[in-house]
Symmetry: C2
Subunit: 218 residues, 2 copies
């Protein structure tokens, strides 16, 4: 017998779900919500600020949305903050299927786009059609980086690990072969959205080199 106090996943078949939640639209919404909860299990390379463990995509997404709320005034082009928030809340959901692709792993980056598009089809497709379309469009917009909102969301997504790497003495900057030239190149999307955040990012990279957290590039 299972210990009732020990949590264990309960799976309902389609008929049981339909009995429990007869409204098809609400049921689709709940199935999507239950499915994407798995984002809490997708680990990123970035360490928590106390260095105790790696962060997961769900808590990362929360942090980015909060950062966007606080830092929106630094976007060079005015942004529609609600749109940025929605984008950041869903931007990593594809990683439930496609996994987190490490930014300094060139091989994995080559088929990242294809893997993530298949994931987006499946996961957003769990929602009622109108909502699937809306969230997919937000994700496509984030990926395309053609709007001020997408560029700002991307800038925040690049700024956060920079802060974490610096404030944990290097973090993923210690990846063999990585230098300040690579980091500056990877972080340049910050500059595409915000001059003031890019200035701060460059100061942090320089201080990281000065403190020996990051190898200088040539």
């Amino acid at each position: 017998m299972n210990d009732p106090a020990k949590p264990a996943p309960v799976t309902l078949n389609a008929r049981e779900m339909a009995n429990l939640l007869p409204d098809e639209r609400l049921r689709s919404q709940f199935l999507f919500i239950l499915e994407v909860e798995a984002l809490k299990q997708v680990l990123r390379r970035t360490p928590l600020l106390d260095g105790s463990r790696r962060e997961n995509d769900a808590e990362h997404s929360w942090q980015l949305a909060l950062m966007a709320m606080v830092l929106a005034e630094h976007a060079d082009e005015a942004v529609d903050l609600p749109r940025v928030l929605k984008m950041l809340l869903i931007h990593d959901i594809v990683e439930i299927d496609a996994g987190d692709t490490f930014i300094y792993d060139a091989a994995a980056l080559t088929d990242q786009e294809a893997r993530e598009k298949i994931a987006a089809d499946r996961i957003f497709g769990l929602l009622p059609a109108d909502q699937a379309e809306e969230l997919r469009a937000l994700w496509d917009e984030f990926e395309a980086r053609e709007t001020a909102e997408a560029r700002f969301a991307r800038a925040i997504d690049r700024l956060q690990p920079l802060l974490h790497n610096f404030f944990t003495g290097g973090g993923t900057w210690h990846t063999p072969g990585v230098t300040s030239v690579d980091v500056t190149a990877r972080k340049s999307p910050i500059g595409a959205s915000s001059a003031s955040l890019w200035e701060a990012a460059q100061a942090i990279i320089a201080e990281g080199v000065a403190r020996g957290y990051l190898k200088p590039g040539e």
Copy 2:
């Protein structure tokens, strides 16, 4: 010597921070962002859906914001979704200082409000004054439950653990002394915002009793 590959917290004193980030406003914003990252360390009682561990406040906040995006149409009074999202992103930040108060712990609930207000003063107070005021007002609004947005945010905050308890075979419902009567009472804020979500919640509670995940009340 420390292993450079092992992340460890780096603390800058006030002068070092001022040298790194000379702009006072941006520096305050970064200090707030770095401080609230600790929300990833505040554990809640609710298990993940796979039962592997308890969730933390940061990933919980992400999940609630995403749920609000998907379920907003179920609010009986139309809600300003961006306001709901912002509220949910900051609603648990006070728990960095005050801790998570277990909903079935009557003793801890008595001084929860006082502890959380002190935490809100300190944590939101890290921000530039205008932003401190804006986020504090959002948190006060969430706590007061007097607006449609605050009631909907609260409803989502009550619905999420209900789903997790059911889909892990009971979760915190197995707390000694807790019955379906207690759960229904604790979950009633769902009904204060949404008739359709409350109907679903009641069906889930009833099915939880039928399956033996939750003791029936009298």
